[in-house]
């Protein structure tokens, strides 16, 4: 039976073959002897935690990195496998490999049409053959269903539309292999569904897709085959129809991570209230419209929404970095006249910032120094205005071991830690202060499953111990898993959700009023 499946697999025509690719960065092995095949019209999911080597592998495919060992074969026009010149993006594009990065590479002030055709025409061409190009694009749109207005400037498009432009760009260059790097990270559930429909239509036309994702649900729904990477090695490969969520998760993390159970607790007194807060802001991204919310003891209040709908402004407001135009902030029972970061730290509001590199750490200071960054005025840290090194080092050492911060040691610069360990270091700083209120803004974004479940466990533990937590996240599953109550934010307006129904929240995130 197994043999049969394999022979079936063999009969499908290969379009791309990565053979024994290895890549080292210094002493870190990013990819170790990874091989995989891609067949015509197939959707292959590349799954793995952060740092598993997915992006490195794709960057080698696209010519951004030069592999230390191994080779890449791709079919040429005559349907014969041919080695790809490595380390040259131009060669990859010519061979028909298209890549849609997580962060778009579009020129906002140019139109969709210009963005798609830019760079394809010869520099010496005296006039652009606009009609021919237009026809080609319209043809592609018709076949794939990726509808966008061609003469609109990209700056005016929504995120989902921009992604379509990126895909069109790749298809316009006659891509036969399309790599989508976490395409749904920026989309609403509805937009994601549309994307999946489009991709399915394209694969029916013979396109092959490599789909990189963290989200198991999507992978299971959407792909034909799954390849799992861990620590740079291929640890599993299976047809999607034979796969189940549990076994994949196990392969990704290596061991089963217990998913923390949320127990029902009676909420206590209100800790933090925002009353009719408004901020004008310059755009949808930083506007808040008459927002009110209350966070109680023993409560996690989830704020769901697609990023760029006012979440950052809300977080900055609570962190004391921005002043509201109208409305009041109440801590416990007392109104706060002026909320500054200093007041926030004094009031015991722990913050897990959205952009941990920008707001969370000082990269060129040591891990120990970063851990005590918010507690400079404490007795254990300072003596007569001087740092108490011995005490700081022992605090840092204790916290690093209990929060499992791994890296070159407490005296190494914080920038040398990996993303997950940086977040754990921030957790150590936040939770060691026993905060009454915690503002967790996208706390698991970009983290692998191990680190993410650690974040969730700590948040639930803090809730049990009586803290009130405001959880802002794009990950709807995370919100539903952790929160006692859920608010949806769209265009700066908060709406309370009565029954926690996935579909309904998804619709509200997309801005539909119910």
């Amino acid at each position: 039976m197994n043999l049969l499946a394999q022979s079936n697999q063999m009969s499908a025509q290969k379009v791309l073959s990565l053979r024994s690719l290895s890549k080292k960065f210094g002493s870190v092995v990013a990819n170790d002897d990874v091989s995989l095949d891609l067949h015509v019209g197939e959707i292959l999911s590349l799954l793995g935690e952060n740092g598993a080597g997915k992006t490195t592998l794709m960057n080698m495919l696209f010519g951004h990195y030069l592999p230390d060992e191994g080779e890449i074969l791709i079919t040429n026009k005559n349907n014969q496998m041919e080695p790809l010149r490595l380390g040259q993006p131009q060669a990859a594009i010519l061979a028909g490999i298209g890549m849609v990065h997580q962060h778009f590479t579009l020129a906002e002030n140019l139109t969709v049409f210009e963005n798609i055709t830019i760079g394809v025409e010869s520099l010496w061409a005296l006039k652009t053959n606009k009609k021919k190009a237009q026809k080609k694009i319209e043809n592609i749109i018709e076949r794939s269903g990726l509808v966008v207005a061609l003469d609109e400037p990209v700056g005016r498009l929504s995120v989902g539309e921009r992604q379509r432009v990126e895909i069109l760009k790749a298809l316009y260059r006659d891509a036969r292999v399309l790599v989508l790097d976490e395409p749904t990270a920026v989309l609403t559930p509805k937009e994601a569904d549309v994307l999946f429909d489009n991709v399915k239509a394209m694969t029916d036309n013979g396109l092959s897709v490599i789909f990189i994702s963290h989200k198991l649900r999507e992978v299971l729904e959407f792909s034909d085959r799954i390849v799992i990477l861990r620590h740079g090695q291929k640890v599993g490969e299976m047809l999607t129809k034979d796969a189940d969520e549990k076994s994949i998760a196990k392969m990704m993390v290596g061991e089963s991570t217990p998913i923390s159970k949320r127990v029902e607790i009676q909420v206590g007194k209100p800790l933090l209230s925002l009353e009719n807060i408004s901020m004008k802001g310059s755009s949808r991204r930083n506007r808040l419209v008459d927002i009110s919310l209350k966070v109680h003891e023993h409560e996690i209040l989830g704020i769901a929404g697609v990023s760029g709908n006012g979440q950052s402004t809300l977080a900055e407001l609570i962190s004391g970095l921005q002043k509201p135009d109208q409305g009041e902030v109440v801590l416990g029972t007392s109104k706060v006249k002026k909320l500054t970061p200093k007041v926030v730290v004094k009031a015991g509001i722990g913050r897990i910032p959205e952009d941990r590199h920008k707001d969370g750490i000082v990269g060129n200071m040591t891990v120990a120094e970063n851990i005590i960054l918010e507690s400079l005025s404490e007795k254990s840290i300072q003596r007569f205005g001087f740092l108490n090194r011995a005490s700081i080092n022992s605090i840092a050492r204790d916290l690093c071991s209990s929060y499992d911060v791994r890296g070159p040691g407490i005296h190494a610069h914080a920038r040398l830690l990996s993303g997950g360990n940086i977040q754990k270091m921030i957790l150590a700083r936040v939770f060691s202060g026993n905060p009454k209120i915690i503002l967790a803004n996208q706390p698991t974004r970009g983290l692998d499953m191990g680190a993410a479940s650690e974040v969730e466990r700590r948040l639930l533990e803090a809730r049990r111990n009586g803290s009130g937590i405001l959880l802002i996240s794009e990950d709807l599953d995370e919100i539903l898993r952790l929160s006692d109550r859920v608010l949806v934010i769209h265009s700066g307006v908060l709406t309370e959700i009565e029954n926690l129904d996935r579909e309904q929240i998804g619709l509200m995130m997309a801005g539909e009023t119910l």
Binding site: R19, K342, V362, N364, M365, E369, L373, L376, L416
Partner: protein
């Protein structure tokens, strides 16, 4: 194929040796213009070394030259550590010098034990004031301190010339635009008899050590470093960023002011508009060469002073232009900047492997 890779952890020894290597390389490179000038290179270097280390007098001259550079170097190092770009040490130096002659030339005729601390204090305050103004403009209006401090230099210099033609002019000075002399008890004692090196040097050395300790060990220094390395994380962590920067600005301005005080009451004894041949600007090079470390400033100031004094005596003996000193100093700065790059990144040369079809 050449590629640039991040060097994750460079050893301490390596980081430490970069400025030294840069200094040596810049001296070696100086042979090129020397050869163009037609000088015997070996002899020129010998004269240069003798001109600095050949006698007690030569050594004293070098130390005298290094003294203001230590102060201005510290002024730049402290500010740059907090990413506060104080380019105005030259102006602040003159503010300090003006404060010194305003007080030390007879307004207060009291014992030196009292007069000296008063002069020094006011000199520091004047220098600090020269930095508070750009700082206020920065926090209030967001004006870039690079522009404001730099332009203030010229305003202050013109103000100085006005004062030297007016209220500060020495009535006995035969019409020269210079101030009255500092009272005898207002002068800093010299360190060696009949030599010019004075106790301003000791003050500079002590301050460098104190600053080194404060920046690395104190809460004030911790905040300064945090603000310098990542201002938004510092703000997020509740550190009073503006307050921190103001403290740094005052400290930096005061140090630059002290350079002026030390030149007036340690060396010259009176004030003219050519007190400083650009000590304020050279201080920036000193600080960069020192890797913004206060202790390093001492070494860097000694090196640059040696180059200046050595090149002076070389130009006298060999007839080559003394502008060579500026050239060497400039080259050493470029070498340090390249060295800084090398310490953070490495270039690797890789051969592209031939792809074989199996």
């Amino acid at each position: 194929m050449i590629r640039i890779e991040n060097r994750n952890a460079s050893s301490r020894l390596f980081k430490f040796s970069i400025p030294i290597i840069s200094a040596v390389v810049s001296l070696i490179l100086a042979a090129i213009p020397l050869a163009f000038a037609g000088a015997n290179i070996g002899e020129a270097y010998l004269v240069m070394i003798k001109g600095v280390f050949g006698s007690v007098f030569a050594l004293s001259e070098m130390l005298t030259r290094a003294t203001p550079l230590i102060f201005t170097g510290l002024a730049a190092a402290v500010a740059f550590r907090a990413r506060l770009w104080n380019i105005g040490a030259e102006g602040q130096l003159y503010l300090g010098a003006m404060a010194a002659v305003s007080i030390g030339t007879g307004v207060l005729d009291i014992s030196g034990f009292l007069l000296l601390p008063i002069i020094i204090t006011f000199g520091c305050l004047a220098g600090a004031l020269g930095m508070v103004v750009p700082m206020a403009l920065k926090t209030r209006f967001g004006a870039d301190e690079v522009v404001t401090t730099l332009l203030l230099n010229f305003i202050i210099l013109i103000f100085l010339q006005m004062m030297l033609e007016g209220p500060l002019k020495d009535p006995m000075g035969l019409g020269w635009p210079q101030s009255a002399p500092i009272l005898d008890q207002g002068m800093l004692p010299t360190l060696l008899t009949r030599m010019r090196v004075h106790s301003g040097l000791i003050i500079g050395l002590v301050l460098a050590v104190i600053l080194q300790i404060f920046i690395n060990r104190s809460i004030w220094g911790f905040k300064l470093r945090a603000v310098g390395e990542n201002i938004s994380a510092a703000r997020h962590a509740g550190i009073g960023v503006n307050k921190s920067l103001l403290g740094v600005a005052i400290c930096s301005g005061a140090l630059a002011g002290l350079a002026g005080v030390s030149e007036v009451i340690g060396l010259k004894g009176y004030l003219t508009a050519d007190l400083s041949p650009g000590f304020g600007y050279t201080g920036i090079v000193v600080a960069m060469l020192a890797g913004l470390s206060p202790i390093g400033v001492i070494a860097a100031a000694l090196f640059i002073a040696s180059v200046f004094v050595g090149a002076d005596s070389m130009s006298r003996a060999m007839g080559v232009s003394s502008y060579l000193a500026d050239l060497i100093v400039a080259m050493s700065l470029i070498c340090v900047l390249i060295g800084g790059f090398v310490s953070n990144y490495k270039l690797t040369f890789t051969k592209q492997k031939k792809v074989t079809f199996k």
